[in-house]
């Protein structure tokens, strides 16, 4: 009973694993039976791959289903003797034809790769409009190591720096209990003090954040609002027994949003202490992040610098096509169009609401018309990612204003036109011939930020300084220091690990009593911190060594995690790096979060772990199982270890094609239980059975590798060429969102070689990908990449 949802999940997972680049698994070494039939009976007329021959010149393509095609073949083919191919043979050949070249899907797959004209993806749309608006505001804070919020402590109820400021400091987070006596009876009256925390909050991931303020006193929270806007939460009036105020806000991950929390312990209104009685004072600023639990807003997400507010689009979009492994915008739909239209309207509305500050023009200014025209023209340039020709300016600015009854309406119309234009909504019109510097700039900014060029990049394009690989490298390196690049790389790693959507994590309460939603949230945080470690803080020049993803034997733990995972930390300790299990951990592969995600609620799942390793990490294409298979229940086989049970389950010949690869990979992680704790034995049938963590992998080239346990597995993966290939391919596609083959068949291998030469620096790889992809495919990229050097040794 407990297994039924899992059965479905496993079947789904297996199918999810099926979508690959080729319909036939490399694990299936023999030719598919349909190909044999085809060669024997069909090829002589239809030609290789259905390309046709003089006897049957039309290509073998169509829209029959496999069943229809099989019935057709059965009855009519081959034409001279339909009895030769019937029954199973007809079905097999139909399947082969359909998958290989007949169906629309197959044809699409077989098309020569080219850079396709694409609409903005949803992520791109959101970041572009945010940055478009932001480009008219001041710059955000640079990236540095400072965390926490600036705190000003005032004696008195008001925030008067001149009169009542007592001291300033950096507070790591806002969670204080001042008791009855206040922060310091020597310097503050217990009933009359005020504190203002300012800075920015940098949410780790995109999604809805519920902010909660707990206090019995007057408080206001300004969050992502400009100074002239009302605060996000205004609880300056304390009324009745309310001590908790909540508000939910959608935020884009990795950006800095201005935050100001003003707390005043004193009666508000008329300045009169008569009714001020001794009272307990405390304040806490909490949030519930997406995939998380309610917690004090953590220090690592707070910075003591101000930021301009950000326009965060609220319009919901349908999800992008991710069928080939990365989000891309190669199709339009009515749903998408409707969302884009509504989003254009929302964006234009926001700009109108803030136009005085964005266009720096007062409502009653005499030069308002001139300024608004100029604003619209600049907006169009930035939205279109290139200078505005006089004709285009006439079309999208002048005409919109000329026909409008008033200036605001004119601006609104112009913005709607700009945001509805294909020049804004679509990218990459023809990547051929000479590189236009503004196209190059946009490819760089979309590649690294999913957004529009910033001012320095624009200037480089205007000065035609984006022509050589060195110039592009220089810009890309500069741009990697921006938070948006950090976010993009981090989100890529989450997708590579298949945890970008925050999987639900619940564990059997009897077996894992200590595993709570808080633990699950902490584990995700721990993994995010580990990824940030590898990528290195944005703005730092240190190499982001790919191998560290596998070789790091330290895990970020806080007090709560430490007590569950057997490390010694004080109960309330903040996150810190801990060497766990005497060095048996192997980076992200055996990170307790990954191990928990790749397990059932009660037992581990070597199959999930193996599939993840085989497919995502080592880049193999796996076929779905012939039919959905229910995992054998542990209760049915109380004496078998998980490893033995899985081996039994997958012992069928049909299973073995893939499971010879999957199982030995997953088994190597058997020394980590369903919540990722290290173990040496597994209790089965009342007996502690030793865990066998021996595993192996047969790479696409070279001899089989064997390893025992997560550490050895990780050490193998860290130097595995298969893993490098898979990583390079995934990263290329996420960054460029176009098929790598469009740049030539050797593109990925060239990049892999330069990746190795750089000592597997992920940041360097991104730069190389940009150097490759922003120049037209005709450019000889191999020459632009650095030569191989003997730095391929472990760090």
């Amino acid at each position: 009973m407990a297994f039924s949802p899992i059965v479905r999940k496993l079947a789904l997972l297996a199918f999810a694993l099926a979508g690959g680049l080729s319909p036939w698994s490399p694990a299936a070494a023999v030719d598919p039976p349909g190909l044999t039939v085809y060669r024997e009976h069909c090829q002589r007329c239809h030609g290789e791959n259905g390309g046709g021959t003089p006897d049957a010149p039309k290509p073998l393509v169509g829209d029959r289903s496999v069943n229809q095609l099989a019935a057709y073949v059965d009855e009519t083919m081959p034409e001279d003797d339909p009895s030769q191919v019937t029954g199973d043979a007809a079905r097999q050949v139909a399947e082969y034809i359909h998958k290989s070249f007949y169906s629309a899907v197959a044809r699409d797959r077989n098309r020569p790769a080219r850079v396709e004209f694409s609409r903005l993806t949803v992520r791109q749309y959101r970041t572009v409009v945010a940055d478009l608006v932001a480009s008219f505001r001041g710059r955000g804070p640079g990236v540095d190591a400072q965390r926490g919020l600036r705190a000003e402590y005032f004696a008195g109820r008001d925030f008067d720096r001149g009169k009542s400021l007592i001291y300033e400091q950096i507070d790591p987070q806002v969670a204080f209990d001042f008791g009855i006596e206040g922060p310091d009876p020597e310097r503050f009256e217990p009933n009359r003090f005020a504190i203002r925390w300012t800075g920015s909050v940098v949410p780790p991931e995109t999604g809805h954040y519920e902010f909660v303020i707990r206090t019995a006193h007057s408080v206001k929270l300004a969050l992502n609002t400009a100074w002239y806007e009302p605060p996000f939460i205004d609880a300056s009036v304390k009324s009745g027994t309310e001590t908790e105020r909540r508000g939910t806000i959608f935020l884009l991950g990795g950006r800095a949003y201005p935050l100001k929390l003003s707390f005043s312990k004193a009666n508000q209104g008329v300045d009169n202490t008569k009714h001020e009685l001794p009272a307990h004072a405390s304040i806490e600023l909490l949030w519930k992040p997406p995939y998380g639990v309610l917690e004090t807003v953590p220090e690592q997400c707070l910075i003591p610098h101000d930021s301009p507010s950000t326009f965060v689009l609220g319009t919901p979009f349908p999800p992008d096509d991710k069928s080939i492994g990365y989000e891309r915008g190669t199709s339009v739909s009515k749903d998408w169009f409707q969302a884009a239209t509504a989003a254009g309207s929302e964006t234009a509305g926001y700009v109108l609401d803030h136009v005085e500050h964005l266009a720096h023009v007062k409502r009653d200014a005499t030069d308002r018309a001139t300024k608004l025209h100029a604003f619209a023209a600049t907006f169009a340039e930035r939205a279109f990612r290139r200078p505005l020709s006089p004709d285009l300016k006439t079309l999208v600015v002048d005409r919109a204003f000329a026909e409008a009854p008033d200036l605001d309406t004119g601006l609104k119309r112009s913005l709607l036109l700009i945001l509805g234009s294909p020049r804004f909504l679509f990218r990459e019109p023809g990547l051929t011939g000479d590189a236009d510097p503004f196209d190059t700039a946009a490819r760089l900014s979309f590649g690294l930020w999913d957004s529009i060029p910033d001012e320095p990049l624009w200037q480089a394009a205007a000065r035609k300084q984006l022509a050589t690989p060195e110039q592009i490298r220089g810009q890309a390196e500069r741009m990697l220091g921006d938070r948006r690049a950090q976010v993009k790389l981090r989100d890529f790693l989450l997708a590579w690990l298949r945890i970008d959507h925050g999987p639900e994590l619940a564990k059997d309460k009897n077996l894992y009593a200590g595993f709570s939603p808080e633990i699950a949230a902490d584990l995700r945080t721990s993994l995010l911190l580990a990824l940030d470690d590898v990528l290195g803080a944005a703005g730092t020049a240190s190499a982001a060594d790919f191998r560290r993803l596998f070789l790091d034997d330290e895990v970020w733990l806080n007090g709560r995690l430490a007590s569950l995972y057997g490390a010694v930390l004080p109960p309330g300790a903040p996150f810190t790096r801990v060497r766990l299990d005497d060095g048996r951990r192997g980076g992200v592969l055996s990170h307790p979060y990954m191990m928990s995600v790749l397990s059932y609620t009660g037992v581990t799942s070597p199959i999930h772990r193996g599939v993840f390793l085989a497919r995502s990490v080592l880049g193999n294409v796996l076929r779905p199982p012939e039919e959905a298979v229910a995992p054998l229940s542990p209760e049915q086989h109380p004496d078998l270890t998980t490893r033995e049970r899985v081996a039994l389950q997958t012992s069928g010949v049909a299973c073995q094609t893939c499971h010879t690869m999957i199982n030995p990979l997953g088994f190597a992680l058997e020394e980590f239980d369903a919540i990722g704790r290290h173990r040496t034995a597994e209790a089965r049938g009342g007996v502690e059975k030793p865990v066998n963590a021996a595993g192996s992998y047969l790479p696409r080239e070279g001899p089989e590798a064997t390893f025992k346990g997560g550490r050895e597995l990780a050490a193998y993966v860290a130097t595995s060429r298969d893993a490098q290939e898979a990583f390079v391919r995934s990263l290329f596609h996420v960054v460029v969102k176009q098929p790598a083959r469009a740049w030539g068949p050797d593109t990925l291998e060239n990049l892999r070689v330069s990746f190795a030469a750089s000592g597997f620096d992920i940041r360097r790889l991104v730069v190389d990908i940009m150097v490759t992809a922003v120049l037209p495919p005709t450019f000889d990229v191999a020459q632009a990449l650095p030569p191989a050097s003997p730095r391929e040794s472990p760090p």
Partner: protein, 449 residues
């Protein structure tokens, strides 16, 4: 369970309108089923602060506005009410209706927070000029009570249910600046920026007009971009162009005429003391048009706030109103100025009445004033004494069916009973108590109709 109100989105969904067009479809004349026959009733509550000058406000005698004695001719209205002279037949004043709610908060705070709620303020941290500190009101206000009732029935449901207008309401959200509450601890901020209110009322319409007006340019742009694309890439743009075209068709197929003229606001008016007369008139135009459009049947218009401090230089009063309101009755000059100030508010009420009177009732008989009652009130009976006795209640118009052209004088009844009477007159006859039940003893105030 049926939702209380049929949202516009639901309605449009039933009409089969796509979500792309949705943001651009404005102003369905009303959600109400047409032709139910029942005449509309509307209520507009106007607030001005800091009490009145009693001797220049209250009619000398109860009964019709006539001189005493055997030959009764129309009596001159009190100074403050004189701007309402054109509407003397539609005018009703209620004296002796007190705000008896006690508890935490100073008299301004309670005056404001209990005015439309009839219930105590929560204890809190807002210290007034005296008394104990308080928080927000512990119940909803009568306009919201009426709104819920109207919105719960299809024949009286409107797009907004209620609209909260303001004129120069200070930015601080506190007990002095809020009189409308949707529930305990749930104050509603009035919108005091006419442009913002315009956007709320007509933004969709304007966006739709804007969208339609740029479609030619958009097609031109699409054609230019398409011409420059290689054939393989043109497919996706062709599909996109087809979507633009079907959007265009949906827009024109679902064109909804606006039944009334959309007001044209003077541009460039900023939120400053000296612009108060202009802002007031802009808001009044928006009230009239949104009532005409049946966007709502309940509205409030809040001038500044309790302890409001406008400096009415345009009528020759340089001092702030609240400061003047503390002057004793013996300070004749101050009383003159306060009289002028209150007469200015009366003039705005009269202007609203005039605009309603000159607008024919859409789909009905007579003028809109025949179907609308303006209730002008104040948080205090008198500024210098901060009295909650004789709260000013001035009614203009025929929306509630009260007998007008007269002054009523009650023997100090709690205002909760009047609030209940308002709800009954708006059709919410099931309301037996409102606010603190202790002040609702004999049910709705009688003698009004």
């Amino acid at each position: 369970m049926m939702p209380l109100t049929l949202s516009r989105r639901d309605l449009l969904r039933r009409l089969g309108v796509g979500t792309a067009v949705l943001p651009f479809l404005a102003n369905l004349p009303s959600l109400a089923a047409a032709g139910t026959g029942a005449a509309k009733r509307r209520l507009v509550i106007v607030f001005s602060p800091d009490g009145v000058v009693k001797k220049n406000f209250w009619p000398a005698n109860p009964g019709p506005f006539l001189t005493p004695g055997p030959v009764r001719v129309p009596a001159e209205l009190p100074l403050i009410l004189q701007p309402l002279e054109p509407f003397r037949d539609r005018l009703l004043t209620l004296q002796g209706v007190h705000n008896k709610v006690k508890g935490d908060g100073d008299l301004h705070m309670r005056g404001m927070g209990c005015l439309l709620t009839g219930i105590e303020l929560f204890p809190g941290n807002i210290q007034g000029g005296g008394d104990t500190p308080a928080g927000w009101a512990s119940g909803l206000s009568i306009d919201q009570e009426i709104k819920h009732h109207l919105q719960s029935r299809p024949e009286t449901a409107t797009r907004f249910g209620s609209l909260e207008f303001g004129v120069l309401v200070p930015n601080n959200a506190d007990t002095w600046s809020r009189m409308v509450y949707t529930g305990p601890n749930k104050p509603v901020a009035p919108i005091d920026d006419p442009y913002q209110m315009f956007h709320k009322l007509y933004g969709q319409l304007k966006d739709r007009e804007s969208m339609q007006s740029v479609l030619d340019e958009l097609h031109e742009d699409l054609a230019k971009v398409a011409a420059a694309l290689p054939a393989e890439d043109r497919r996706i743009l062709d599909e996109h162009t087809a979507l633009v075209r079907s959007f265009e068709q949906e827009l024109s197929a679902h064109h909804v005429e606006v039944a009334h003229a959309v007001p044209v606001l003077e541009q460039g008016i900023v939120d400053q003391n000296d612009q108060m007369p202009k802002i007031s008139r802009m808001q009044i135009e928006l009230i009239v048009s949104s009532l005409a459009a049946d966007f709502t049947r309940v509205a409030t218009l809040q001038f500044t706030q309790s302890v409001g401090q406008p400096h009415m230089k345009w009528i020759g009063v340089d001092e702030g109103q609240h400061e003047l309101s503390h002057e004793p009755n013996s300070n004749e000059a101050a009383q003159d100025k306060l009289t002028k100030i209150n007469a200015w508010y009366a003039g705005e009420v009269a202007h609203l009445a005039k605009r309603l009177a000159e607008t024919p009732e859409p789909g009905g008989d007579g003028s809109m004033l025949d179907h609308t009652t303006i209730l002008w009130t104040n948080e205090l009976g008198e500024g210098n004494s901060h009295s909650h006795a004789d709260i000013p209640w001035v009614l203009v118009g025929g929306g509630l069916g009260f007998t007008s052209g007269r002054a009523l004088n009650y023997p100090g009844v709690p205002h909760n009973r009047f609030l209940i009477a308002l709800a009954h007159a708006m059709g919410h006859t099931g309301l037996e108590r409102f606010g603190n039940p202790d002040y609702c003893g004999d049910g709705p105030l009688t003698g009004l109709a």
